[in-house]
């Protein structure tokens, strides 16, 4: 069974006030003490602790810049914890930004293999899902054309179809929605729901509170990097909305 255990997780970003110091000041500061470095610390995630068990459908809410996406990226190991620990059991599928790792010069088919391997699929797995992905994305005609010639819709459809082709244990979603026309969106939503139903654990960040109410059985409320609410969706969302509009 999958589970996620996050303990006292903190992630610090350094904000550099002067990205490119002049050569003169660079060498002038080289031998000075580092106490007056031109940076300040920003704790995007600050001392967050929670456990997620198999079967949990977790929604993460909070204002812009509350640390929701940073938290998800820490679960996907993109950001190493500055302090604290993250323990994960199970095959994790990071759908943070679909189409990450697509190469514009490669054809659609080549990108299935390139991006698919980045997502952690083996060559054999990719060969077995290739035709299904192409069919779902409805781009049979253009599959051997470099993706830089694709329309935004075609690009999104291919990226979405590939990203959602495998069933992971742990599904991590950051505001995922599919582009395309109405009929594709309908098809994509059905596929998303199917993916979520089959996942052992699902964690999503969304500003669509109605979506979270229908999909999740638990909500984490992030505020300025700290976790200030953890519980039943309706209760937490109502408290969050009450605070936002007060």
């Amino acid at each position: 069974m999958s589970n996620i255990c996050v303990k006292n997780l903190s992630i610090r970003f350094r904000i550099y006030h002067d990205r490119s110091p002049s050569l003169k000041s660079y060498f002038a500061n080289l031998f000075k003490s580092h106490s007056n470095d031109a940076h300040s610390d920003f704790w995007a995630v600050n001392d967050v602790t929670f456990d997620i068990q198999a079967g949990d459908r977790v929604g993460v809410i909070g204002h812009n810049g509350a640390g929701k996406s940073t938290l998800l990226k820490a679960l996907c190991r993109v950001y190493e914890p500055t302090r604290g620990e993250v323990h994960i059991n199970g095959r994790i599928a990071p759908l943070l930004e679909i189409g990450a790792g697509f190469h514009p010069e490669f054809t659609g088919r080549e990108n299935i293999y390139l991006n698919g391997s980045i997502l952690g699929h083996s060559r054999e797995q990719l060969r077995s899902i290739e035709s299904g992905v192409i069919e779902f994305a409805e781009i049979e005609e253009f599959i051997d054309t470099p993706v830089k010639y694709y329309s935004t819709g075609m690009y999104m459809r291919l990226a979405f179809s590939l990203a959602t082709a495998m069933h992971p244990d742990i599904l991590i979603l950051d505001e995922i929605f599919a582009g395309g026309d109405a009929s594709f969106i309908k098809k994509a939503k059905a596929r998303m729901h199917n993916l979520i139903d089959n996942a052992n654990i699902m964690i999503m960040v969304s500003h669509d509170h109605e979506l979270i109410r229908t999909l999740c059985n638990r909500v984490l409320w992030m505020d300025h990097g700290t976790l200030i609410g953890d519980g039943e969706p309706n209760e937490i969302i109502d408290r969050y909305l009450a605070k936002s509009y007060s």
Binding site: V78, S117, L119
Partner: protein
């Protein structure tokens, strides 16, 4: 360090698919939609070396055929080292998009560059070798030493590349400094001239050039028609191991920090 190495090996094995995809990406993309395609990898160094051989054989008043073999034996390791190091400097920066969105063992970026350069170099070696034979060069059994030379050079270049890929993330100016430094290093390395040609005030500097044993590894079998002396072998092996250990130590110590600095 030891635990880090074991973890690194497991992760590398698990992401071998990505590694091959990245290697293929580099080899395929460069010449896509060009008429000669991958042949450019062979044509380019071939033309460059022909021009250099012509000019410098005349300048140094050398026999063209002998000098061509001499130059070719020096240019092969230089070109390989040069491409690995300069391309590695952008290895992490160019893949910022990926590194910020998905977890991958970051070693695969410089490693894929080293492997792609090795394939390029081996092919241009073959092409040049055939041409040398065609114009009447001599062949010896020492040629079977070349794979060993390549292995040592690969390990050395990869080690240096690892350190440089990290360094440029923290200090972006270094990418530009590196280009100038490599140009200087080319003239300070005995490629156009023999090892003992630069004497006097420059002599000591030349003697400390770590590339010399690697050039000798190739020049021995190809030009001298003999396996390089034990001293060269020991020096190049020691340098390779040193570069790899130092490169890995720097890389593993910093790889978690770079995502915050890209």
């Amino acid at each position: 360090m030891k635990g880090g190495l074991i973890r690194l090996c497991i992760e590398l094995f698990n992401s071998r698919n990505v590694l091959w995809q990245l290697v293929a990406q580099q080899l395929i993309l460069r010449y896509r939609r060009t008429a000669l395609g991958y042949l450019w990898t062979l044509v380019n160094p071939l033309l460059m070396m022909s021009v250099m051989a012509l000019v410098f054989a005349t300048l140094f008043k050398q026999d063209l055929k002998t000098f061509a073999v001499f130059l070719f034996a020096g240019m092969i390791p230089w070109n390989f080292f040069n491409s690995v190091v300069t391309q590695s400097s952008a290895a992490l920066i160019n893949n910022e998009g990926l590194i910020k969105k998905i977890y991958l063992p970051k070693v695969i970026f410089p490693l894929s560059i080293a492997i792609a350069c090795l394939i390029d170099s081996a092919l241009s070696f073959l092409a040049l070798f055939i041409i040398i034979l065609a114009v009447g060069g001599t062949l010896s059994w020492a040629i079977f030493f070349i794979p060993v030379a390549y292995l040592l050079l690969l390990v050395f270049s990869f080690g240096v590349g690892l350190a440089i890929s990290i360094f440029t993330v923290f200090f972006r100016d270094f990418q530009h400094i590196l280009l100038i430094a490599m140009q200087g290093l080319f003239f300070l390395t005995p490629i156009l001239y023999k090892n003992n040609a630069l004497t006097g005030k420059m002599g000591w500097l030349i003697a400390w050039n770590p590339l010399i044993p690697f050039v000798d590894l190739f020049r021995g079998p190809l030009y001298g028609l003999a396996i390089p002396p034990t001293g060269t072998l020991l020096a190049s092996t020691a340098l390779s191991v040193l570069a790899l250990v130092a490169g890995l130590a720097i890389f593993l110590a910093q790889e978690r920090k770079i995502v915050f600095r890209l």
